[in-house]
Symmetry: C2
Subunit: 117 residues, 2 copies
């Protein structure tokens, strides 16, 4: 399992980015991961801000924006341990602008490998 998190501040373009644009960037992240998109959910907030969820066959990608603070939280969680989340997340980062202020990998319980089952 890979669970990569990217928290972005000073997001210059977060207010302009539409939920549809964010979801499109997330689909591109999915493609770059070599993962399979299964379903989508967009929840918008007033006066602004959005949570976009892309459920993958491999787990999920979530982007939550807080335009009032110029912040965004990004989770890229995949059971494909051969994926490259740092490369795949770039379309999201480029759309939102800003600086990755905090990035990390979350230690998650791995799925057993076939040999270990």
């Amino acid at each position: 399992m890979i669970h990569a998190v990217y928290d972005i501040n000073n997001c210059k373009r977060v207010v302009q980015a539409s939920p549809a644009q964010i979801m499109a960037a997330m689909r591109e992240t999915c493609r770059l991961l070599g993962n399979t998109a299964r379903s989508e959910l967009i929840e918008t907030f007033q006066p602004h801000g959005v949570t976009c969820v892309l459920v993958l066959a491999e787990s999920h990608i979530v982007v939550t924006t807080w335009p009032e603070f110029g912040l965004a939280h990004v989770d890229v969680f995949t059971c494909r341990s051969d994926s490259d989340p740092d490369g795949a997340v770039r379309p999201i980062l480029e759309l939102l602008g800003g600086t990755v202020a905090l990035a990390g990998r979350v230690n998650r319980l791995a799925l057993p490998t076939p040999a270990a089952v």
Copy 2:
């Protein structure tokens, strides 16, 4: 921000738990957090397994089950730093059974406090 993760193995009841039951437990977790549920997404997999997403006004809760391995990954992510995720997650843990094999808090970029803005 609090981003708590709970990875569960030896889930005795994960095969029996329906997606609707899992989502009901997640709604109860939301209530115990003192958070507000905004939208839901359930994605089921064949022959089994489900990803349930509950988008909150405060961020999100995600449960992904891997019944073939007796595993589940649970994320409880909220901008309410006065929430108690360890208490609030209990309905989900009780539904799925099993043992929390890995629990932790993910370091996320905080929202500025009003005084800091």
